[in-house]
């Protein structure tokens, strides 16, 4: 009792007589005690609630996975029959409960991602039959970008093409995450002009977004692939980068003249990527340009040029490559030896000849290059 009284006195009667720092300390103490108690209560009640919710969810999850796993047994039947068989069963779940509905949607989507053919059709039928697409559309119209992303993901996974127009509006959104999500979704869902966003993309497409777009463009079946060279003159460097990657992926030989023009590009990354692609496309007609520009370039471009000459391996520049094996830069020498090696029998012979006369470090590099166990 005494201590309570003492503390009470501290904060009341005696308070005005303390020096200011002690008074402030007392207030900070009071604040900490309140904050601390609230934190404790909050953390613990949150945990209890969570435990209860998780248990409930686990119960439904097991039920849902069990029901879904049986769908694979129906893939020889008619799709409509199968859907009609399953819809009433799933309707027995308390789908008005948001947690249960979200759980079902998640499982359905994950499951759907694994299949093509009838199983996928049955799953889509089930999704539509349970009117889950309406909820997804509501999500796309939400005020929060996170929710919008969720909605877009759902309709894209389920291939609901009717929603492409709804998504098109979002491909210009201010939020870059949402914009990217909408762009990728649009590539998948749009049947007429999936790449129109490239024409007007002014913002930089971050490398990460390029990666995602590239994945979607190259992995989605039935996308109409245009000739990407038409965007190689874009003023947006990131659009050029993305299209370079796509030109490479689809081996678009018609882009070679545009690529040669890009060799003068001020952006080093674009220049180096362009040279790389010219090599991969084995563009013999670019060799002279590559040779002419070589001596003015920084090292990272020089090595790319040497690598490209190896990939093209026309034999026209073997002497040049040989001369590069005497430079000071280790990387240039190694790449030169690699490129010589790529010249088939002729290259092998040249390597043997050089080996007889060269320095001990160059010998080591030649051995390294010829050792098939070392990659990269």
């Amino acid at each position: 009792m005494d201590s309570v009284h003492y503390i009470q006195e501290l904060f009341t009667a005696r308070l005005p007589f303390f020096p200011s720092n002690i008074r402030a300390s007392l207030f900070i103490m009071l604040f900490c005690i309140i904050a601390f108690t609230e934190l404790y209560l909050y953390i613990i009640t949150r945990r209890l609630k969570q435990t209860w919710e998780r248990a409930r969810e686990a119960k439904y999850k097991e039920k849902i996975t069990n029901m879904l796993a049986h769908i694979v047994l129906y893939d020889e039947d008619d799709v409509t029959d199968a859907v009609n068989h399953f819809v009433p069963r799933f309707k027995k779940l308390p789908l008005r409960d948001k947690a249960v509905r979200e759980l079902l949607v998640k499982e359905l989507l994950d499951y759907h991602a694994n299949f093509t053919g009838k199983t996928a059709e049955i799953l889509k039928g089930l999704y539509l039959g349970l009117k889950l697409d309406r909820a997804a559309r509501r999500k796309i119209k939400s005020r929060y970008w996170e929710t919008q992303v969720e909605g877009i993901r759902e309709v894209t996974q389920m291939w609901i093409r009717e929603d492409a127009d709804l998504i098109l509006k979002l491909t210009d959104d201010e939020n870059s995450q949402l914009r990217m999500e909408a762009q990728t979704a649009f590539v998948k869902l749009s049947s007429d002009d999936p790449f129109r966003f490239l024409d007007r993309a002014r913002e930089r497409i971050l490398e990460w977004h390029q990666l995602v777009l590239f994945e979607v463009i190259t992995k989605t079946r039935n996308v109409q692939i245009p000739s990407f060279s038409k965007w190689l003159s874009s003023r947006n460097d990131s659009v050029v980068m993305l299209c370079l990657k796509l030109v490479k992926h689809y081996q678009q030989l018609d882009a070679i003249p545009d690529l040669i023009r890009l060799l003068m590009h001020p952006n080093l990354k674009i220049r180096s990527k362009t040279i790389n692609i010219l090599g991969i496309l084995e563009a013999e007609m670019a060799e002279e340009d590559l040779f002419n520009m070589y001596f003015d370039q920084p090292v990272e471009i020089k090595t790319e040029i040497i690598k490209a000459m190896g990939r093209i391996s026309s034999g026209n520049y073997l002497e040049f490559l040989k001369s590069r094996t005497q430079t000071d830069d280790f990387k240039i020498r190694m790449d030169a030896f690699r490129s010589i090696k790529l010249h088939g029998a002729e290259g092998r012979e040249l390597l043997n000849n050089i080996y007889q006369v060269t320095t001990s470090q160059n010998k080591a590099i030649i051995n390294h290059v010829l050792d098939e166990r070392i990659k990269g």
């Binding site: 720092n21 490398e207 990657k245």
Partner: protein
């Protein structure tokens, strides 16, 4: 005479109060910034499908560099778990730093290794290379084992950098338990920041008492012993509250040696790890940042709060003391060798905020605390103490400390919630109550010892050869 002591005491109380107030305000600010950064990180990445990085031919290539010194008992399992990480374009380079046991032989035998003709591009000077090994079995084509003359951890990593053929290097401790999607998560910032990212750091968590099978974490538990348990709380606070805030400010100075992903080009340009310090992990980051400032290149150093790397922490006071002693020395050495940064506006935030923070909080704080205690005892012995005021000041600091720790626990609850059992949560909350009383004074003591060791030159400046890098190495401060 009495009035003189009264004045001293007044001055002392005020000094403690204002210093405490300053420290507390900084922590509140950091906690707030962390909350902002955590929230934006979690929002941004909850919709990311990391498999897209996994399958993409456009993802950056990564070399994992893991130095090994006398690890024969666990090396085979450790390498296996590194090889099974989820990533497509990567290689694992194990650097045998002149182990005296059969680490190399064990690897050669299990992974069917043979020596290859490797031409080394010595971009960073290191102790001599003895041989590069590759496996005859194509299942292990991603593995490269490098044998070298012993030269310490930094030297081993530098040789690994010379051998690496990829764009990014992930430097890790070989005995860490690394989550499968660690590379995927750590690589992402290199692609989604508008400035050039030169390094990303991963959170380090404590694996004591966790269920581990075949080098993989199965279930997370709070450590049974009290010393690692203190460290769990300390790490949560340091990583989720401290470093996230610094990441937000782009002012991170330290990436744990246990887990950091670096831009190889920049590392090579700055000359790699420094082997004249025991704090090579921090020193490298400071030097890389300095390099970027000196060349006027915009850059970022990013922190990933996801729990990706788990390590066994010391459960023995002596070992822990040695670890903390070393951290202190590492901090001092780094601060000393980059003293030009101190409040130097040329280095922007690095010079004006990060460096001074480390100077005042990480280096000076324990010394001030120790001095404070010393003066307090002296005054008390002379009978010139207002016990009530002193107690009030101390209670304030104590209450603030436990509140701050509880906020850290809340952050963990709201984000990753690794300690799923309710009992573990309660234990964690309780440990916060006694941590300032039991664990904190020990830390101050070790830090002081570190300072003394530096001054007496007992074990500093010289190369770290032969000490190897046995047990503790993660820095959480």
């Amino acid at each position: 005479m009495n009035s003189f002591f009264y004045f001293i005491e007044q001055f002392f109380n005020n000094a403690i109060f204002y210093y405490a107030l300053f420290v507390m305000l900084s922590y509140v600010l950091l906690a707030f910034l962390s909350a902002v950064e955590m929230k934006s990180y979690l929002r941004k990445n909850s919709y990311v499908d990391y498999r897209q990085i996994l399958v993409s031919p456009n993802a950056p290539s990564v070399s994992i560099l893991a130095p090994a010194y006398n690890e024969e008992a666990t090396i085979v399992d450790n390498v296996r778990s590194l090889l099974s990480l989820h990533y497509s374009n990567f290689e694992v380079i194990i650097i045998n730093d002149g182990s005296k046991d059969k680490s190399l032989e064990t690897l050669i035998q299990y992974y069917d290794l043979e020596i290859v003709d490797f031409a080394l591009n010595e971009q960073i000077k290191t102790k001599p290379l003895k041989g590069v090994y590759k496996s005859k079995n194509p299942a292990y084509s991603k593995l490269t084992v490098v044998d070298k003359v012993n030269g310490g951890k930094s030297d081993a990593l530098n040789l690994g950098i010379n051998v690496s053929s990829k764009e990014l290097i992930l430097c890790i401790d070989v005995d860490c338990i690394v989550e499968q999607d660690a590379i995927l998560r750590m690589v992402k910032p290199f692609m989604d920041e508008s400035k050039r990212v030169i390094a990303t750091g991963g959170v380090v968590r404590i694996a004591n008492s966790c269920e581990v099978r075949d080098g993989r974490l199965i279930k997370v538990h709070l450590p049974d012993k009290i010393i690692p348990r203190f460290q769990v709380l300390e790490y949560i606070r340091a990583f989720l509250m401290g470093r996230m805030a610094w990441s937000r400010l782009n002012g991170l100075l330290l990436i744990s040696g246990a887990m950091g992903l670096f831009d190889k080009e920049i590392v090579i340009k700055c000359g790699g790890y420094n082997h004249n310090t025991v704090g090579e992990d921090m020193e490298l980051v400071v030097r890389m940042r300095r390099y970027m400032h000196e060349h006027d290149l915009p850059y970022r150093v990013v922190y990933i709060p996801d729990p990706l790397c788990w390590t066994e922490s010391p459960s023995d006071l002596n070992i822990l003391g040695r670890q903390r002693n070393r951290w202190t020395r590492g901090t001092i050495e780094t601060l000393w060798s980059h003293k030009e940064l101190f409040f130097n506006p040329r280095y922007g935030l690095l010079g004006l905020l990060s460096y001074p923070y480390w100077f005042f909080f990480e280096w000076l704080a324990p010394i001030l605390e120790f001095l404070g205690l010393f003066i307090f005892i002296t005054l008390a012995l002379m009978g010139n103490i207002n016990w009530e005021f002193s107690l009030i000041l101390m209670s304030m600091v104590y209450l603030f400390a436990i509140t701050l720790s509880t906020v850290a626990v809340l952050y963990e609850e709201l984000s990753y919630q690794q300690y799923t059992s309710g009992r573990d949560l309660i234990k964690l909350l309780l440990i916060a109550l006694i941590e300032p009383l039991l664990y904190h004074p020990l830390n101050v003591y070790w830090a002081i010892r570190g300072n003394i060791d530096i001054i007496t030159g007992k074990k500093s400046w010289g190369t770290m050869t032969r000490t190897g890098f046995g047990a503790p190495k993660v820095k959480a401060a």
